[in-house]
């Protein structure tokens, strides 16, 4: 993939690590909660600049995978590597990632500007540097006149954009999205899909998205990882998974629920020509 790295931080990163092909790597990771195995022997790599979606029903282990990557939980076995280095011992707050939660998790008592300033302040940036950066970011998400509002004075879609802006503002090496569009209504979701895609292209940032929304996965991703019961069922481009699913689970999962479409019935009827149809 042709990767664009617009931020100074990302460029510095890249020059250090051009010989490392995988940006993010799971190496035979298992996560147990008591006797329950949430993720089993998971191995996957994500390239720099790639948009990868982990798709699966609830209980498939997709959220656990994201939590492992974010450092909110530690693997029971195996290792998670970022830019070739194990992050097992690195606490979440030192991983520098940008995260967008389904609930957005904006600070309700801070204005939009203060919400965006927060990650910069935490990294020790001076106010004089912070403000122009916040202004630029607000322009990028088309909310330049909203800086003085509180999150409660924004619509759901606007809050979503602010959450995304806050996740991106400190030039994180990668972005984690947890059901990013789950709380939006249908029309807005379609619009945000397009916006997120163009933001991803503009920033060129490695992105891992976790969702159970097939359409979201098909629209946004360079590559989709379908998970089932803690393991990877199939990996591929959206076209490959939709058009050439390897299993009935993948075939069934990659359609919108409104038109649940997989043919489970076996037709014993002979067609006009050719072999019997087993559909």
């Amino acid at each position: 993939m042709n990767v664009k790295l617009p931020s100074s931080l990302a460029e510095a990163d890249a020059s250090k690590e051009t010989d490392v092909p995988a940006h993010i790597e799971f190496r035979t990771v298992t996560k147990m909660y008591g006797a329950v195995t949430a993720v089993r022997d998971l191995s996957l790599t994500v390239g720099r600049g790639e948009f990868v979606t982990i798709l699966g029903p609830s209980g498939s282990g997709k959220t656990t995978a994201l939590m492992l990557l974010a450092g909110f939980v530690a693997p029971t076995q195996g290792d998670v590597l970022i830019a070739g280095k194990s992050v097992a011992a690195v606490p979440s707050y030192r991983r520098d990632q940008g995260i967008v939660f389904q609930s957005y998790a904006l600070f309700p008592h801070l204005t939009v500007c203060q919400n965006l300033e927060f990650p910069l302040e935490m990294r020790g940036m001076k106010a004089a540097e912070r403000l122009p950066r916040v202004k630029r970011m607000l322009e990028r998400v088309h909310l330049k006149d909203f800086g003085d509002r509180l999150p409660s004075q924004l619509s759901g879609g606007q809050q979503q954009r602010i959450a995304l802006a806050r996740a991106l503002i400190a030039d994180p090496p990668f972005l984690l999205l947890d059901e990013p569009l789950g709380a939006l209504d249908r029309n807005l979701r379609e619009q945000m899909q397009i916006e997120m895609k163009s933001l991803h292209q503009e920033f060129g940032i490695t992105t891992i998205c976790v969702t159970h929304d097939q359409e979201e996965a098909l629209t946004l991703s360079d590559r989709i990882i379908v998970m089932r019961a803690g393991e990877i069922e199939q990996t591929g481009t959206p076209e490959a998974l939709y058009d050439r699913p390897a299993t009935s689970f993948v075939a069934n999962f990659l359609v919108r629920p409104i038109s649940s479409t997989f043919l489970t019935s076996r037709l014993n009827q002979r067609s006009s020509r050719g072999p019997p149809l087993f559909l």
Partner: protein, 84 residues
């Protein structure tokens, strides 16, 4: 399996296309037609099973009602084999 949007639905009396060699067909009876704005979904009983057909609404299409007999056909190359 075959995706519902790959199946085309037509009247039994409709003329067949020129690529019949490449296609397979079955006949069935419409059980249900669901209108969903830009889409129409047909549930068609074929033998003891049921096929779902998804059609983008367009001008000039025949709309079938429950009870009507129809022909369903698709390209052989659109059929996929998957592990159950």
């Amino acid at each position: 399996m075959i995706r519902p949007e790959r199946i085309s639905i037509s009247a039994l009396t409709a003329k067949k296309g020129t690529d019949t060699e490449k296609r397979q067909h079955v006949t069935g009876r419409v059980k249900d037609m669901i209108y969903a704005g830009p889409l129409r979904k047909y549930h068609v009983r074929v033998g003891s099973g049921e096929l779902i057909v998804r059609e983008h609404c367009a001008t000039g299409q025949t709309v079938f009602k429950p009870g009507e007999e129809v022909r369903l056909d698709w390209l052989r190359s659109d059929v996929r084999f998957v592990k159950i």
